[in-house]
């Protein structure tokens, strides 16, 4: 009996394993992330050591919100 090797995109890559097992607590919704993004990014632009655990965790777990936060931070750096 022969076996068929899984297609590459059917295999769990190390990156997929990491993404699936990412600890995204404390919970923060995308809507709350959007609400807080302006104040969070301004605080980060003023002080790169600024920490907001819920925002940091959300941005690690949500690539779309993270992309948008990165853009906002770039805009603030360009503006100031």
């Amino acid at each position: 009996m022969s076996t068929t090797a899984p297609q590459p995109d059917r295999v769990l890559t190390p990156a997929a394993v990491d993404a699936l097992l990412l600890d995204t607590t404390p919970w923060l919704s995308c809507e709350d992330c959007f609400e807080r993004m302006d104040t969070y990014v301004e605080a980060l632009a003023d002080d790169p050591s600024h920490r907001d655990p819920a925002m940091s965790v959300h941005l690690r777990g949500c690539p779309a919100c993270a992309e948008e936060a990165d853009t906002l931070l770039e805009l603030l750096h360009d503006r100031d």
């Binding site: 899984p6 995109d9 059917r10 295999v11 769990l12 890559t13 190390p14 997929a16 394993v17 993404a19 699936l20 097992l21 990412l22 600890d23 995204t24 607590t25 404390p26 919970w27 919704s29 995308c30 809507e31 959007f34 993004m37 302006d38 104040t39 990014v41 301004e42 777990g61 949500c62 690539p63 779309a64 992309e67 948008e68 990165d70 853009t71 906002l72 770039e74 805009l75 603030l76 360009d78 503006r79």
Partner: protein, 234 residues
Amino acid sequence: MGTLNRDDPTSLGLSGEGPRPVRIGHDEPEDWVAALSEPGAAQDAAMRRLHALMVRAAAHQIWRMRAALADASPHAVDDLANQAADEAMTALLGKLHTFEGRSRFSTWAFKFAILQAATEVRRIQWQHREVELRDLEVEAPAHDGPDHAAEAGELAAALTEAMRTALTPHQRRVAIALLVDGVPIDVLADRLGSTRGALYKTVHDARVRLRAALVATGHLTDTSPTPTTPAGTP
């Protein structure tokens, strides 16, 4: 809306090097909310100024994501940025009463333009691609190599099993689409008639269940606090 010269890419700040830095001028209203709320010449001027800021922010986002676009010429980016700014203006003006002054108004405004522009680029990127909602087809990689590869393979196998046993079919499909297949969350939300927030909640719950399952089987050390989701969150 707006008075930009669409034939001149530099009106957007676009050049071969990307968007120009955003400069906040001295013609900014001191009170944006009042200026935008009270009909008259000041409102018209504030709307034009705000739209220009929104176009710049949208263009910056689109420029960052230009590799996803078939046509990333200055003219195409200009058109897309203006469309995104128009949509974002509508969204912002509908929420103007919620601005509390905790950040600068321009920062608050930028995020609406950025969200709209990024969502639109992802939509365009995927408009001719099918989104496959597959269920139990994920497989762990074979592992017959060095020890660390074998460990990684064992973890992936345990995770695959946990996906079968600990997740609901909906959680599995959403987690696979977003985290394995790399479908953007707003594209998946659009295809499913859902929202970004609802899908993120689904994948958050899936992650909690998967971590708990692997802690139970000894494949993961629980070093995190007990997951708590406040009641009433979407």
